[in-house]
């Protein structure tokens, strides 16, 4: 791999991973904001409205930084990956502008209405605006996942003699079979991160003896939703997403699992370090035959190993393998944390158990890591392809941009994103410091 290709990849990886920190929470929180707002609409209990408004403030900050850091990604398709744009812009580009166009007015429009319009619009419109924010956030995620799904499993195109692809079916691209479970798994991950953030902030207030009502509401909602979501993260969304990987991307599956040799009744490696040179795992702990079961549903199925493919078609083994195991490992820990939370809630000890509140608060960054690791598996595991089976990553770059230029601009992005990160932490920190609006917290809405 040439230096220039590596520089382009590092730049995209850095800018997209930084960007994705923010949509995780906009997608994750939007659902809970709509949920809280719905409970308020139905019961008239003002506490739920105060909570919804509090999270909407944090949502707004995330949304603004998500927009700002999203623009460079769209530009990079042209600046750094011009041969990819030229090759397939008419196909993968179908859903790209739709994200900007649809998500923007739904999210910004309804968010403005929800935050500022409470006194000016009827209650039902105010409630619907929170649903609109959630719909916009979740819809925008789909359009972007559809672009990625096309890169994982290209459909709805035909090749022309010049080597470019042309759109054959808009609906096939939009309804790519790969996109469905990938989207479900992505959104589930974002919602789970939302539950952990809500739980973490609730735990923080509970431990600092502030905003008692809000803290209890947040903790209760976080552990119940968190338990459901941490389970659905693994099954069905994770499981069925990996079935698609089994079906469409055998090299990615073998790399994720560290399976070098094709095996009948392949074991699942829980732990182990891949040794790519000698094509083996160092110090593995296996669950016998389990990989065959997960991939094909029966214990004696044959799973293809990496060694049947030429080395130049292997994804980077270590990065994909470790990212996958970090994701799965964290996912398992999330189930345990949320299970313990629901148990404590049932025993009526959730709000007093300091050990647990500390764990929940400190767990806050880990769903972010798991989400990012999942995307590393998806994208690094797709290598050496940019569009699986059609276009190699090395053939998608801009040849008129030198490696040095890309390194220079990557450093520039690093600097300016460091400032953005400080701004973000400052603004969110202030919202958390101020806390939810407490006036009339326990009063019931007089309008009912």
């Amino acid at each position: 791999m040439s230096e220039a290709v590596f520089a382009h990849r590092v730049q995209f990886a850095f800018t997209v991973m930084f960007h994705y920190l923010f949509p995780i929470l906009t997608m994750g929180l939007s659902f809970f904001i709509a949920l809280l707002s719905t409970v308020h609409f139905v019961t008239g209990d003002k506490r739920y409205l105060a909570a919804a408004r509090f999270w909407a403030k944090i949502f707004a900050i995330n949304f603004a930084i998500g927009v700002v850091t999203g623009i460079p990604l769209e530009f990079e398709f042209g600046t750094n990956w011009s041969r990819f744009s030229s090759f397939g812009g008419g196909v993968f580009g179908q859903t790209l502008p739709m994200e900007g166009v649809y998500a923007f007015f739904l999210e910004s429009g309804f968010l403005g209405l929800f935050i500022f319009g409470e006194e000016r619009v009827p209650r039902v419109v105010h409630w619907l605006s929170s649903v609109g924010v959630a719909a916009g956030s979740l819809l925008s995620g789909y359009f972007i996942v559809a672009v990625d799904a096309w890169m994982q499993h290209p459909v709805g195109y035909e090749l022309d003699p010049g080597g470019d692809v042309h759109l054959k079916s808009f609906w096939a691209v939009l309804l790519n079979p790969y996109a469905g479970w990938q989207y479900a798994h992505t959104i589930n991950g974002a919602l789970l991160a939302g539950a952990f953030v809500i739980g973490g902030v609730g735990a923080f207030y509970a431990l600092s003896h502030r905003h008692r009502d809000f803290a209890e509401l947040s903790l209760k909602m976080a552990v119940i939703a968190g338990l459901i979501l941490s389970l659905t993260q693994a099954f069905p969304t994770g499981d069925l997403n990996s079935r698609n990987v089994v079906r469409y991307q055998p090299t990615k599956l073998a790399t994720m699992e560290g399976l070098f040799r094709t095996e009948k009744g392949a074991p699942l490696a829980i732990i182990g370090m891949p040794d790519t040179e000698n094509e083996r795992l160092i110090d593995p702990i296996y669950v016998p035959r389990f990989l065959s079961f997960l991939a094909y549903g029966h214990f004696s199925a044959t799973v293809e190993g990496l060694s049947i493919y030429p080395r130049e078609l292997w994804p980077p083994v270590e990065l994909t393998y470790y990212a996958y195991h970090i994701m799965v490992g964290l996912g398992t820990i999330f189930i345990a944390i949320m299970l313990a939370g629901v148990f404590l809630l049932w025993r009526r000890q959730l709000f007093e158990n300091h050990w647990y509140l500390w764990i929940l608060m400190l767990a806050l960054p880990f769903p972010y890591i798991a989400n990012e690791a999942g995307w590393v598996v998806a994208e690094v595991g797709r290598q050496p392809w940019l569009v699986y089976g059609l276009l190699k990553t090395a053939n998608g770059t801009s040849t008129n941009v030198a490696a040095g230029e890309t390194v220079f601009t990557t450093l520039g992005f690093a600097g300016i994103y460091a400032m953005l990160a400080i701004l973000f932490l400052f603004l969110v920190g202030r919202v958390i410091h101020q806390g939810p609006e407490v006036e009339n917290l326990s009063a019931v809405d007089p309008g009912r």
Binding site: A64, V67, V68, T69, G70, I71, P72, E74, F75, F77, G78, T79, N80, S82, R83, S85, S86, F87, G88, G89, G90, V91, G93, Q94, L96, P97, M98, E99, G100, V101, Y102, F104, F105, L106, S108, G109, G112, H166, L167, K168, F170, S398, T399, N400, V401, E405, T409, G412, F413, I416, M419, L420, L423, F426, L427
Partner: protein
């Protein structure tokens, strides 16, 4: 469909120039005419709730260019690599500046972000103008459809002239916008600035028109063979004349005049390059036009329908938010 997409993109970019134009203009101007913290805050609050939404027109234009003319997107964006990345940084810097400024109540802190906001605003206006100038002038697009945009190439005399015109028009537009949103001493200074900027805009528009004839002789031919395109120069002229009559009074008319000038100039630029999107200065056969750089007819049709529906929502939202923040700025507890 190819031709429709060309004008749709021209309309998108024109809308972007007219909308983000006034907040770039205000950013370039507020350091000069807004004295003291209260006036600065009034100027920033005039654009505060709107600038983010205005930028969406740029994002949407970019996304639509990928799907409609992917080869132009690939060639133009990679050719302008450093210039575009710098433009991105300026966009982020402006956002950071306006959001950071009011977080700490300290005059030095505020002065720092005022200056960075000012710098980001006019540099961006200049960069976008220089890019437009280069597109009109033509670029050394090779047989493979690509070019390498070095600074020496991009910063030619003609493009710099268009860049300066862009800064002046947008600053004038910003001054007219402030006339709508401010009162008292700040309003007086905005009117004064607007009147003086009008003179410079007239001069630069004249110069650029003459210069365009020299760098792009075929542009005149296009207006002669398609007289309908003359509507754009006519709109520019109407805006300039309107600006003259609204120099001292009628703030609304002044803002409409500068909007017309932006529409006229952008339309004229589009008409002079049509049907090319990127004209090759090496060989006309290498030019990327609406015919040889477009996606397949099916892709163009599908994308047009999908985006047209979405744009209805964007327009409705833009109208709504501008209505909502209509009128003079009142400083409250919240805001910038």
């Amino acid at each position: 469909m190819n031709v429709v997409w060309f004008w749709a993109l021209a309309a998108m970019l024109t809308a972007y120039a007219a909308l983000d134009g006034y907040d770039l203009g205000v950013g370039s101007l507020h350091l000069w005419i807004a004295h003291g913290d209260t006036e600065r805050r009034i100027a920033l609050n005039a654009i505060g709730p709107l600038w983010n939404g205005n930028e969406v027109w740029l994002i949407a234009s970019g996304g639509m260019l990928v799907v409609s003319f992917p080869k132009v997107y690939a060639s133009g964006f990679s050719g302008f690599y450093l210039a575009l990345i710098v433009a991105l940084w300026l966009l982020v810097l402006r956002g950071i500046s306006i959001e950071f400024r009011s977080q700490i109540d300290n005059p030095l802190w505020k002065a720092l972000w005022d200056v960075s906001f000012w710098l980001g605003s006019w540099l961006l206006a200049l960069l976008l103008g220089v890019a437009l100038g280069n597109v009109v002038r033509g670029l050394p697009v090779g047989a493979d459809g690509y070019f390498q945009g070095s600074f020496a190439l991009l910063l030619n005399r003609y493009s710099l002239l268009v860049g300066i015109l862009s800064v002046l028009v947008l600053v004038w537009h910003g001054a007219n916008y402030l006339r709508l949103k401010t009162e008292d001493a700040l309003l007086e200074r905005a009117i004064h600035a607007s009147a003086r900027l009008w003179v410079t805009v007239v001069i630069l528009t004249g110069l650029t028109t003459v210069a365009t004839y020299f760098v792009r002789p075929d542009a005149a031919q296009k207006f002669i063979s398609h007289p309908l395109a003359l509507v754009f120069p006519a709109i520019t002229l109407a805006g300039l004349v309107g600006g003259f009559f609204c120099r001292h009074a009628n703030d609304r008319g002044a803002f409409r005049s500068s909007t017309l000038v932006i529409i006229g100039l952008m339309g004229s630029a589009a008409a002079s390059i049509f049907p090319d999107l990127l004209t090759s200065t090496l060989n006309p056969a290498y030019s990327l036009s609406v015919y040889n750089a477009a996606s397949s007819p099916h892709a163009l049709r599908a994308a047009f329908i999908a985006n047209a529906i979405g744009m209805v929502g964007v327009i409705a939202y833009s109208t709504y938010i501008h209505r909502k923040f209509h009128g003079k700025v009142r400083l409250g507890r919240h805001g910038y």
